[in-house]
Point group: C2
Chain length 327, copies 2
């Protein structure tokens, strides 16, 4: 075997979610060489999930005709607070995990250095490294999907705070006394603007007799509704849905303004399933609302952008983390 | 003159406010040796105010029988965003200032090194250095007075963000569609829990026929009401006022929870005129509400305290800044 063939010049990024595991192999320039996907099977417990993470990494490496010997590091994004030093997942709400030594266990199975971070942090890192050429000192990534989470980069570094939970923006109160959130409180950002919140508002209105193209597309009870369905109905001129999406975009803009008022980052990047599907319909409203609600002068020169990484944010970010940590 | 007599072993802290200027002389252990006070006279323009800042420093130094030669540095807290490197006040909303080179001009008049920071940042620094023995890595100081502002210490250092406006927490939206704020938006933290907001709610209720001990104390139109009057009326068992203060404390608790969810600092310190006057009535409610609204796990081990520095926070912080910068 030629010497170059065994050079450790690739990284694997892993996105460990509540329902699926994604892994991607990237070269040093963060070009994707191959990928794989497995269901998480969280109900089987941490050991089984850890084995599946390792298997997903092996599958992705095999997919691009490489060998684990070529992998310099693996970066894993996990839901919930993570201690990056020990590589432990402190709490994994979607996985029913508590204090799981993910780094150590995956390293045992793969014999490759593994680095673990919170999933929103890792997505923010991926956006920062691959989409922001200006390399701002301070940026915030906000991800709007089933829930809402954020990652903070301050002074060029990920910021996790005291309990490693910084960025829990989904539970920032925007409307005291507002709609009930899954966390038990009322008026959280997540209860106003997440996919779940938008879907619930649509379903409630339909039950109350509201007409929408969505029921023609999906049936009266709107089961199996997806973010992409909203986009399709909007394209067909659904005025009711337009109002719903405008309202959600306004809440997102207010959430962004709160972040600008409190942290004053140079760049705010929005991502996640709702933004991926509805960028064209939402971003202009989000930006206008954020600038309206940010205190005069605070938003000057601040960029508010949509990420283009979509579902790849987690695996790209994982590879970026592994590359940073093995430098 | 003995050599030690001319040693530069003192610092001056200056609190430059919209209506008054306070200066305090401190030794190396931050013990106050003397102080002075002047009205600001903002309407006379920046040059006149700068001359008064210098005069206030000279007065304080003279008050404690010292000489400017004994002063190693002067730290000034100014309202609005400040560029600490150039020492310019970018915008001074209460002073009608724009781009005023405060550091350079005061240095010219005093021939002593001068350092300038935002007033909330400087108060936070004063609290951090003199009241927190644990020296946490991350803390937030929230000051509730006529308005509401905050200072952030992250990784042991003041954090100002891109436009030097980080900490504008008073304009964080807590209640979309809530009461009108002086900034033009609705539902800002400041419009719900500042002194102005509390006073307005009391005055509106009284106009609508609400009975309160305050009108016996101050007359029906409640002119010249001060935070201390609220405390006195509470001590006399005013149930209406109790509800008002409880409501404000709950809003403050929600504001604190938002900060904990987003930034996850180790310590949150509350200060300012409202907290100074009503600490005993508000702090327990603030802490309980903050822990209720912070996402499960995020507030673990986080301390929420009231500062004891009261009106001295600004001058103490100024001296701390000068000591840090001349090390």
């Amino acid at each position: 075997m030629a010497e170059s063939a065994s050079k450790q010049d690739h990284f694997v990024g892993v996105d460990l979610g509540g329902t699926k595991i994604l892994a991607g192999v990237f070269n040093h320039h963060l070009k994707c060489a191959g990928r794989s996907k497995l269901s998480t099977k969280a109900q089987r417990g941490p050991d089984a999930v850890i084995e599946r993470v390792a298997r997903c990494v092996r599958d992705a490496v095999d997919e691009c005709d490489l060998d684990l010997k070529r992998i310099k590091g693996v970066g894993v994004g996990a839901p919930g607070p993570v201690d990056p030093e020990s590589g432990k997942v402190i709490v994994g709400p979607n996985l029913s995990w508590e204090d799981v030594p993910l780094k150590k266990e995956v390293e045992k199975l793969l014999d490759v250095p593994v680095f673990v971070e919170n999933d929103c942090n890792i997505c923010t890192l991926g956006v920062y490294e691959t989409e922001l050429q200006s390399k701002p000192q301070h940026m915030v990534g906000i991800f709007i999907g089933t829930g809402i989470g954020a990652g903070l980069i301050l002074n060029g570094k990920l910021f996790s705070g005291f309990n490693k939970t910084a960025g829990e923006i989904g539970h920032m109160i925007l409307e005291v006394g507002g709609p009930k959130c899954s966390c038990g409180n009322r008026g959280c950002f997540e209860a106003l603007a997440s996919r779940q919140a938008i879907f619930r508002r649509i379903q409630t209105a339909v039950k109350d007799g509201q007409k929408t193209i969505l029921t023609e597309m999906l049936g009266d009870d709107l089961t199996d509704m997806r973010s992409g369905d909203l986009r399709k109905a909007l394209r067909r001129g659904d005025k009711f849905l337009e109002r719903m999406i405008e309202e959600a975009a306004e809440y997102i803009g207010i959430g962004v303004a709160n972040v600008i008022n409190l942290l004053n980052p140079e760049v705010v990047v929005l991502g996640g399933g709702i933004i991926d599907a509805l960028e064209d319909d939402m971003m202009a409203i989000i930006i206008e609302t954020a600038k309206d609600y940010a205190l005069s002068g605070t938003a000057k020169g601040i960029e508010i952008l949509a990420s283009k990484l979509a579902d790849d944010a987690g695996i790209v970010g994982g590879a970026v983390l592994a590359r940073r940590e093995t430098k």
